[in-house]
């Protein structure tokens, strides 16, 4: 599975409150609607201009903070193809896997990727390709891959329970 998109680059410790503000957590419940608030407090241009396949790039500890899954859902619904960061907040990482949004830890790629440039991500090959070169990320754990393939934790659970 490979796709192309543009880079949206941010710094270290991008937290869940700036990805999806807490004030919406009990007032916005439709996943499609969540996309319009994505990154509201960090980058007001983002929700309007993001395109399917775009790649969000962050530094260390991307997605730290709250357990709110909307901070993953809003990016997924906005069409984000993958998040590349140096490291991820623990619950955020789990939420990504559980929602089939590739969360790729690759410090070299983060340093190399430039805001706005075109990038290609190949999940099977474990490669991030840009003008400056090709960067490799460690393959996802097998449990995570199985979940990605199923389309996330919920379809995966349905399968396990023999419901799908």
């Amino acid at each position: 599975m490979a796709f192309k998109g543009r880079v949206w680059k941010y710094g270290d410790n991008v937290n869940t409150d700036v990805i999806f503000p807490g004030k919406y957590t009990y007032t916005v419940s439709d996943p499609a609607q969540m996309a319009q608030y994505a990154m509201e407090d960090l980058d007001p241009r983002f929700a309007e201009q993001v395109r399917p396949g775009d790649v969000v790039v962050g530094g260390a500890n991307f997605g730290c903070g709250s357990s709110r899954e909307q901070a993953v859902t809003c990016l997924k619904m906005a069409g984000v193809g993958a998040i590349v960061a140096k490291s991820f907040g623990r619950i955020y990482y789990r939420n990504c896997i559980n929602n089939a949004l590739p969360a790729l830890a690759c410090a070299e790629a983060v340093d190399a990727l430039q805001e706005g440039e075109e990038v290609e991500v190949d999940l099977e090959a474990g490669e991030i390709r840009v003008g400056s070169g090709t960067y490799h990320f460690p393959p996802l754990p097998s449990m995570a891959l199985a979940m990605m393939e199923a389309g996330g934790l919920i379809p995966y659970t349905r399968k396990k329970l023999g419901l799908a």
């Binding site: 807490g22 009990y26 396990k160």
Partner: protein, 417 residues
């Protein structure tokens, strides 16, 4: 070689002799905690397509995030949860007014030594104060636990923090926590089990201890553990809802990171905007104007916290132009503070006392700041926008410092008053 606390609990829950960091195990949690987000979880649960909860006796729902409901949307959310509780026969349900989920879990004897608590809230590690392995998870994960009774977990690396000595007068466990986070950074314990020990920890009362695992979530920790001692066993005597067995780390366990702090070195600290690791000694920011002081939350809204704050406010008054909001962490704390006269002290000092719950901690209601205002709060998180508007500044500190700042109208320590 021995095992850390997290390794021991996860090995035993997974039915294995031993586990190593990085290993993925499937376990059935003893407690599956959620709060106002239970309605959204129920929506996901229904999509899975099983008619009823796999292990309803493990499911705990506590309404606290926006209680009593500040809007029709919030009220509707609560209504759906009450209906779900009825439909699914959930017995561990605590309605609005009871208190903050992490506090209630402890008070009701549902967080027990050696058990596994998974909660759809990032501060679930709080329950580590009772010697439980407690970790935060997402909503889909909670729905999946409701449906199957189990979830995958990665065995964490472990960090040990030994605290020797004794905290000086006027210094609280919050100051210790802020110092550690300031030293290690907001990702200082990413994915890790943070396991505390030492005489300074043993000397703390349970309320002061709880602040430590609670706020370890801000350092990226998966869970945080404090060794249950006689104080914990005494507390649980009349509360524990199930029999339990204490689990302690082995003396020869292998820790990825091993740190020692001397409590006598700790000074009153604040976390400056907009990150909890942006810490400084109170002395360095003293004098910063404060529009609102907030004492409460799962981090510092317990009786001992209110006692400390009341001690500062007794016979004094909140500064003109500054507001003080106090929210006890639970109904039990509220009643105790009422009987002890603390609530009267707060009101006499010009403060406002609200009913138990999270209040303005995450910007829902009961005292959210205006654009451009400065808050000082006893909470655990001060991200930009956390209290409702991104254009405000939130400082975090101990109840002593927040109370003194309310009196001074600017950041201060009681010793400066």
């Amino acid at each position: 070689m021995g095992m850390t606390f997290a390794e021991k609990v996860l090995a035993s829950k997974a039915g294995l002799d031993r586990v190593v960091p990085g290993q993925i195990v499937e376990i059935s949690p003893d407690v599956a905690l959620s709060h106002d987000n239970a309605a959204a979880i129920y929506g996901i649960f229904k999509k899975i397509g099983v008619p009823s909860l796999a292990r309803p006796e493990t499911v705990v729902i506590i309404l606290d995030h926006a209680t009593p409901a500040p809007s029709t949307n919030h009220a509707e959310n609560h209504r759906i949860i009450r209906q779900l509780v009825k439909e699914q026969g959930i017995t561990h349900f605590y309605d609005v007014g009871e208190g903050i989920c992490h506090q209630i879990l402890v008070e009701k004897g549902l967080a027990l030594p050696g058990e596994v608590v998974l909660g759809s809230d990032s501060h679930t590690p709080h329950a580590g104060v009772m010697g439980a392995l407690a970790a935060g998870i997402g909503r889909s994960e909670m729905a999946s636990i409701w449906a199957t009774g189990a979830l995958w977990l990665r065995v964490p690396e472990s960090m040990r923090i030994t605290v020797t000595g004794q905290l000086p007068e006027g210094v609280m466990s919050k100051d210790l926590a802020l110092q550690v986070i300031g030293d290690l950074g907001a990702d200082g314990a990413l994915y890790m089990s943070v396991e505390w020990q030492g005489e300074a920890i043993a000397a703390l009362d349970l309320s002061a201890r709880a602040t430590l695992p609670n706020i370890m979530a801000e350092m990226g920790a998966k869970n945080s553990f404090l060794p249950p001692d006689q104080k914990v066993l005494d507390y649980l005597q009349a509360r524990a809802q199930r029999p339990f067995a204490v689990v302690l780390p082995d003396a020869d366990a292998r820790y990825e990171v091993d740190l020692v702090y001397d409590a006598s070195d700790i000074r009153p600290m604040v976390a400056r905007p907009h990150s909890v690791d942006n810490v400084a000694p109170v002395a360095q920011v003293a004098g910063t104007r404060v529009d609102q002081a907030f004492i409460g939350t799962c981090t510092n809204g317990r009786l001992e916290d209110l006692a400390a704050a009341a001690g500062v406010l007794k016979g004094r008054h909140v500064a003109p132009g500054t507001r003080l909001v106090v929210i006890p962490a639970s109904r039990e704390v509220y009643l105790q503070a009422l009987r002890a006269g603390y609530l009267q002290t707060f009101v006499e000092a010009g403060g406002m006392v609200e009913s138990p719950g999270c209040g303005p901690c995450m910007g829902n209601h009961l005292g959210v700041p205006a654009v451009g205002e400065v808050s000082i709060s006893t909470a655990n998180r001060n991200f930009q926008g956390r209290m409702g508007t991104k254009d405000s500044q939130v400082y975090l500190a101990s109840p002593l410092v927040v109370a003194a700042s309310a009196v001074a109208g600017k950041i201060a320590h009681p010793a400066d008053l």
